[in-house]
Symmetry: C2
Subunit: 342 residues, 2 copies
């Protein structure tokens, strides 16, 4: 577990896409973000107090989150110098960058000397088991998608909050680096060795007997030729009772693959249900989540209404319109018997 | 590439299952196996000349293959001592054991001193790309299965040989440790990081313009809850023109999972074709391979004939009956256009 609250790093960044991990934390976990750290040449802000490392520590911060992406996911010298200063001020360091903190000797030496912890959230834990497909107690929802980066993490977080707001126990189970920093725990699924994909999900969403829901963050798409293996193992490991299909209606080609088009919603939903039945024959769809950020309110409302009609399922832009109708469906679902086996 | 020919290691083993890698090499590559190394307490033989390390080197051997599995895949002291002696005698070492040769300091030191090479065939190469799904030139066949360990490697090798016997260029593309040792190259797919599964297959089966076939060794099953992610990424990376479905008719439960039953052949074939169409819409099934080793000849022939009738596809036990009818079908297939994109 990564110690909270966080100080969010923006550094010298002027690239909005590049700070999406810091942004995601500020949006979804303002309760655990005491401030942002930026240099004078940084033109971006998360709307949080601008603090230096000492002031952040005084305000209660425990960990500096390097929630930025730069070219090649490298730890540049600026980043290393800032991380060293943050450790001197009493902060742990967490990073989702490709280049690991633990591979930078200056950071490792400083952490040892100061008693600080370095968190590389792209490093899976070492004890992931092979999946078994054994039916587990409790209720699970998984977000699936027509493509990568279509809103699966946002949708999952919105569902967790909406359930909690109705007094239902609900936990977000993170499978990507931003999600892990938001939740403080989870598995960086894309970095797990292939034989352990489904086992990694079984590990982060074990038997649950308190009547609550695990909301599991989806990754990739069964229709993305680069990453469908990850999505398949995730689907089997999650053994979801409920699926929400996430889609970006403005997407014309698959992310990173201009020679592939997104699948039809009905084909994608059916393929996910079919694959999911292997580990949970009772799986059902409970909604469709559309990213309507490029549309005005009337267009967005109209598209969601038409999609809902077409599929006979709740449809909304979760971040913009909420997920009330999906939550109504979830709450009407019975808990599976804890001892059931397939 | 691992230098051949090989000396096959049996050591002190008395467990037929434990020597299956050495056995696979002796069966499929007698041409590159100069002998077997066994201690006096080893009760097994591959039918090859029994040689010590010096005699093997004199007979041309270049690499000692530790083609055995012992408890936990560990390098015991016996194995290390034998490997050291083999290196002194002039041999490289190749191992498919879970514990890596490179993590044993005595072996690393000896290899450096003697100029020998240590091959850990479970270590993927470091430059595997993310898959792109780009259509590649050439013809590819992939074996798929109802379960793990149902004969996919044997079937793939039989097909490669049968094509070669008809004068067709054909290469076996290995995806598991025994296959890699047989081919001298390949990718240990179960050890690849999840995001790179399909890219690993694209790498080992690149554009092919000589009119020949790549025969790609399948892994796992779309219906195995532990490993379906590997099988999915393999299917997409292979973009096969032809599939052969492999099945063990005596299998009652999925390997390692007594709570799961094997799928029906028709369901399994249809699921594989459906998933494969993402990267090759022209994919077709060309045969069904049954492992009939537990049946007498009449039973085996009868089962294959009935299965062939039911599916309208060639069906045989490849190792026992050959694969002539499947090869006839393959040779009747047109080559896809090299420049085609999806």
């Amino acid at each position: 577990m990564i110690a909270t609250p966080y100080l969010l790093y923006l550094g010298h960044s002027n690239d909005e896409i590049g700070i999406k991990t810091s942004r995601g934390l500020a949006v979804f976990r303002p309760d655990i973000c005491v401030g942002e750290f930026r240099h004078d040449d940084c033109g971006l802000t998360l709307g949080l107090p601008r603090l230096d490392f000492a002031a952040a520590r005084d305000a209660g911060a425990r960990t500096l989150v390097l929630g930025i992406a730069n070219a090649g996911g490298r730890l540049g010298n600026d980043l290393v110098e800032d991380a060293l200063a943050a450790m001197e001020a009493g902060l742990d360091i967490a990073s989702g960058l490709h280049q690991r903190l633990k591979d930078e000797p200056r950071l490792v030496a400083a952490a040892a000397r100061l008693g600080r912890t370095l968190h590389d959230v792209r490093d899976p834990r070492p004890d992931i088991p092979v999946g078994t497909g054994r039916r587990r107690a409790g209720k699970r929802l998984l977000t699936v998608g027509t493509d990568c980066s279509v809103g699966k993490m946002y949708t999952t977080l919105c569902l967790a909050r909406a359930l909690q707001a109705r007094g239902v126990k609900a936990d977000f189970r993170a499978t990507g680096q931003t999600g892990i920093l938001i939740a403080g725990d989870g598995v960086p699924l894309d970095a797990v060795v292939a034989d352990f994909i489904s086992g990694a999900i079984e590990q982060i969403s074990p038997d649950r007997t308190d009547g609550g829901w695990d909301l599991i963050e989806g990754q990739g798409s069964l229709f993305h030729p680069s990453f469908a293996g990850v999505s398949t193992g995730l689907l089997h490991g999650a053994q979801p009772d409920a699926l929400v299909l996430c889609h970006d209606p403005m997407r014309r080609t698959m992310r990173g693959l201009p020679h592939y088009q997104p699948p039809r919603l009905d084909d994608c939903l059916e393929a996910n249900l079919r694959a999911a039945r292997l580990t949970n024959p009772q799986v059902r769809a409970v909604g469709i989540a559309l990213n309507t950020s490029a549309m005005d309110a009337a267009q967005a409302t109209d598209l969601c209404a038409r999609t809902a009609d077409m599929f006979g399922l709740p449809c909304s832009d979760p971040y913009r319109m909420g997920v009330d109708a999906m939550v109504d469906l979830l709450l009407a679902m019975d808990a599976p018997a804890a001892t059931e086996t397939i």
